[in-house]
Structure formats: C-alpha cells, structure tokens
Amino acid sequence: MSAEDESGPRDRLIHPDVAKPSDEGERGQDGRRLDHAEATTRPIGAEPKIKAAREPQPRGARIRGNRPIDQAEAAERFLAAPLHQKAHDERLWDLRKKRDTAAFGIPEWEELRELASAIKAHTLSNLDRYLEEFEANAKANGVHVHWAADGADHNRIVHGILKDHGAKTLIKSKSMLTEECGFRHYMAGTGIEVIETDLGERIQQLDNEEPSHVVVPAVHKTRFDVAAVFAKTMGTDPENDDAHYLAESQRMHTRPLILEADAGMTGCNFAIAETGTVVTCTNEGNADLSGNVPKLQIHSIGIEKLIPRIEHLGVFLRLLARSALGSPITQYTSHFRALREGSEMHMVLVDNGRSERLGMEEFWTSLKCIRCGACMNTCPVYRRSGGLSYGATYSGPIGLIIDPTFNKRKYSTLPFSSTMNGSCTNVCPVKINIHEQIFAWRKVLAEEHQIPLLKQGMMKAAGQMLSRPAAYRAAIGAADSALRVLPRFAVYNPLNTWGKGREMPDSPRQSFHNWYKQNRMDPAKAAKTEKGGIE
C-alpha cells in the first residue's frame, strides 16, 4: 500500500496489515478468494451509483406494549427500501447456497440430521437427569452454578455476581439467550456498562437496535448504515464506508475496553453433561477474549443446550457451521470447563419458559433448535422483510414457532408470516417440523381467539365458501379464477404478507372442475353436482 492510500483517520487507526479499501474480501495463501465465516461467495452489497441514491435504513416493527406485532406493516417498509431489500435477500440466499454446497459434500448428511434430532429428543426427554449431571460436574470443576427461572431472574443473578465483585464493565460475546432475557436493557439502569464485542452485535448495540438474525445480527444494514452509526458513536470518518476501515475501527475502539473489563460473559452453543463444559462456536475470537481476559467469567446457558457427551459434539459440530455458514467449522470452537488460575467462573442455567414448552405436545421439538439460522436464510418472507420486522428476539420460521410461547397475544400474527413452502423444515439440521408447527400454531391461535379481527373475518368468509362446493364453483364459474374472485383485499391485504411485493400468478382460463365436467363426466351427474350435491 502506498503512503497516498493512507490518509486522514485511516492513518491513525489502521494497522499496517489491514487490507486496502479496494479489497472486497480476504484472499488465501494461494490467491483464491475466500468465503469462510459469514462471507459471501461473491461481492454482494448495496451499491448505489450516486450518493444521492442512498436510502435510509428501514426500521423494524413498531412495538406497542402487548399489542400484536404488525409484521406486515414493517415488511412493507423494508420492501419500500430496494437497496436494503435486494442486498439482504441476495446475501441470505448466498448463505443458503453455501449451506447446500457444504451439506452436499457430506454423504452422511441426512444420517447426521437424524442422529442430531434423536440425541436432542433423548436429552430433552431426560433433561432433569442431564441438568443434574451437568450441575454436579460443573461444581466439581470449581464452577459456581446458578438456576434462573426466567429472564428477570437471570438478569438479577448476573447483576448480583457483578455487584459482589465491584465490577463496573462487562464485555460479552453474542448470545441470543441474553437478548431474550432483555439483559442489556436491564443493565442500562445499574451503572455497570455492558460492551458487546461481536462486530455485528456491537453495531446493533451502538445503533440501539436488536439483532435481526441469530448468526449475522446486522445483516439488514448496508455499509453506509454502519459508517453512519460508527461516525456518530465512535467518531470515525462518516464518508469512509470501506468495510476494512469500519471493522478495524471497531477493533481499535473495543480492544481497550476488553483489556480493562472487570468481567466477561458468553452464551453457550452446547453444554456437555458428562464434563460440565460450555462450548461456544464463534468466528471473531471475542468469546475467547471474554472468557480469558477478565478475572471473572460468566456463561449463560439455555437449559435446552444440554447434550449428554463430548462425542456428540462430533455430530452437532459437523452440522452447525455447515448449516449456518456453509463452512466446515467456525474459526473458534471453544470448550470452557474449569477455571483459569486466579479466575472465578459462573454458569447460569436459564429456563425462561423452556420447561413449560416441553409439555406442549405439538411444539416441544422446537427446543431442539441449535440456532444456526438456516431456516431464516431460506425463508422467502424473512429474506424480503428483514428480521426486525418480526418485533421479537427470534425472527424467521423458528421465531414464528418459538415467539408465541413467550407471549401469545403479542406474537399472535407471526405464524401467518409464512408461505408454508416447507423449505425451513428441509434445511433444519435437527429436523424440526417447522412449517407443520407454524400451521399448528395458526390453529391454536384461532381456537384461542388470538387472531386479529380482520384475519378472522377473512378466514371465516373463505371457510364458508370453501366448505360449500356450490358456492365455490359458482364463484369460480363467474370469473376465470379463484384469485380474481377473492376480494382484492383478501389477497393483497396487509396481513397476507406474501401478497406483498409480487402479484399472484395468472390462473388457468378454465378450472379443473369445468374441464372435467365438459370432458369426462356424464351430463346427468354434472347437473347434480351443479346443484351442490355431495357424491
């Protein structure tokens, strides 16, 4: 790099090894473009020809207390931001394709999915025993083990540990569990500073937004959005949207905070009962910094993360990164079992509704989820509406079936944000029947009158028509198509999210019933069915 390339803030911030602004991604030792971690296989980004064409970032669903989330409304705003929508859609579809390539590279892929699903089913149906085993082993390792009934309990426990040590700052790695517990929001009032150290999660924290994806938290943002957030919060050059500059700025900005932190915290991908080990799968090295630099370390564990033995990691690790990223493994697979010399180690086992969900016959298998995000990447609704449109910690297909267990009213509309194409179920590494559970939730919510009035009315009208063959055929016969017959509001109304951003396909000129009647049926019978007789 020539001296002219380095000017202004880049000079002060940039390490000599940081790539040039023109580099769109790292290359390997043999010169090949690399696409490990969450990298794209080819450059995908929001590239407005002129600066004036840039658009503001569409924001997520409007949260109004306990009122049902209007996902469709937020999705509409996302669709109205074409630069964001296109980059988001392409980026996640690219991840999905990487996943396919990685999965097809393993002949035993389907067998691994079966095994993973069976190991999880076994562990969940013996969860009491495995939790006790985990606890006993962790204690024997010198670890302090805590049990949290719910999110508030978790936050109080962690706050208590921090207070006991006089901690003023906590560095943490990305954890969906702590998002679910609202940990950061709770801590905001305590005088203890929480610093996210994953780049994507830090971007979201600095922008005061929730993560929009379980693996890539800031995937809905363009580099221009990130440049604006960093300029405002870290004083970087607002005109410099080079991803290398932005990532390096965050590194330089965060490192002193890591070095001086009083405590570190991680989430947990897998908790091993036989050894009391917490396993994290990460790419940036920040979970290992959180666990290895401060003298106090805390690991928050959802109780469904238990697996019986170390050897089972041989199944789950081969599935996780391939499903999530299309890579054979993450950069770091870390096994925290016992304390370092001079450190203190705490593990918090969090229930927060999981033990109740275990008793829901149709929905307990959602506890098998390993948070790979594959169902989100493949979902046409998710890709076109963005994770924040769901207004919940978990978005996309897995969110549709988990979120209502936390709050049936607030998340009552979410199970309707699906085309029911079943793609989520097909890519799930632990074989959760996601689309069937989405359908089952619709039934539960309808029976419990959690469905909004408009949707109820629409479904009632459709139900009446569909249950009466004569009325249905009359309607079809009068026009060419059922789609044209259904009132336009029923197809393109705000609740029918998949009528958004596309027109319904043209329907055949003649219905199958009419064709059958003309060509295959004897006239007497035809007259009878015309009157609506049931054969």
Partner: protein
C-alpha cells in the same frame, strides 16, 4: 421452592411422551484422502490459515519476515526463543502488545484444517487472541482424520480450557466482506514440525 427445584419439577411434569433412546454414533468414512498432511493444509488455507514447512534446515523459514518485523514475540515452544516470557505474565491483558505468538498444537484435524490448544500449550490463554499474529507448530504425525476422531480424545475432559482454532479471527458482519483479525489474530500460520 428454588428456581432449581421448580425447573426440575416442571421438566418431570412435562416430560414428552414416547421412547427416545440415545442413538449410537456410527463410524463415518473419512471425507478426506489418505494423505492427511496435504488434506489438512488444503482445508486450512480455505479457512484463511497459512501453511509453512521447514526450508533448508530453517523450521521458521515461512515466517522469517514476520518475525523480523515483530517487536514483541511470545514463544510457548522450546524450538524458538521470544522476548516475552509467558511464565512471567501477571495478568492476561499484559499480552496486548505481542506482535507474534508461537505455540504448539496438541493435534490437527484434516477434515476442517483445525488445530487444538489447551491451557497447557498456551501457557496464558489470552496470548492466542491478543497477539497480532499466531504461529502454530504441528507435528505431521498428530493430524487426525476428522472431527469425530477429535472428540474421541480425552483432552476435552481433562483440560480446563480447550479450543479448536481454524484459521485466524474473522468477520464478515459488514455486507459479507471477509476480514481477518476481527478481534483476535490477523493471521494464523501452521508450520509442520515434528516434536523435538
């Protein structure tokens, strides 16, 4: 009742119906060819790592330039001396100024290009993340065929901290642009060198 007792009681009350036996894990055929050294190197490179071999009697030929430009070198191996003694480190954060750290891996994994460290090899765990660059010595005889074989080893049950590194620290959180050195090391170079 405590949160512990409540959670365990709910789990017992809500136990899913049916029989869910723990399946046996079969031995899967390796995905890699017989030459584990070549397979390991290929996969490591795809994950952003570099591979080096001794040249003309110099084990460190592939990282000589890197070492020459480094001000602070922390060595955890007898094969090379650094100028930062890892046995004299008071706090993990004191290693923040290390340019190059050199450590030996317990083993490598051909399927993924990973190397394993425990607290034994690292001396101070934080050195593997705070250093700007990581140089790893790996005995070619210590390369396992796959992840499944790795998890049959006893290291995970005995070490307080065990970690598989596969290439350097990486992120692509901004528009999918791959960047090495997100928070941890900017590069990871494995040198194939038998144990002394």
């Amino acid at each position: 009742m405590s949160a512990r007792e409540e959670t365990l009681a709910r789990i017992r009350r809500n136990r899913p119906a049916g029989s869910h036996p723990l399946p046996d894990i079969p031995d899967f055929a390796p995905l890699v060819g017989d030459d584990l050294v070549i397979e390991f190197g290929e996969r490591l490179k795809r994950m952003g790592g570099r591979i080096g071999s001794p040249e003309g009697g110099d084990a460190f030929a592939s990282v000589r330039e890197r070492l020459a430009s480094a001000k602070i070198i922390a060595s955890a191996v007898p094969e090379i001396d650094g100028n930062r003694d890892l046995s004299q480190v008071a706090l993990p954060k004191d290693l923040a100024d290390v340019d190059v750290a050199i450590v030996r891996a317990v083993f490598g994994v051909a399927e993924t290009g990973s190397v394993l460290f425990t607290e034994e090899e690292l001396k101070v765990n934080s050195v593997a993340y705070l250093a700007q660059h990581l140089v790893v010595l790996l005995d070619p005889a210590n390369i396992l065929v796959n992840i499944q074989a790795a998890y049959r080893r006893s290291d995970f049950a005995s070490a307080a901290y065990a970690v598989l590194h596969t290439g350097p620290s990486a992120t692509a959180d901004i528009e999918g642009v791959l960047i090495h050195g997100a928070q941890g090391v900017r590069s990871l170079t494995v040198i194939l060198l038998p144990r002394g």
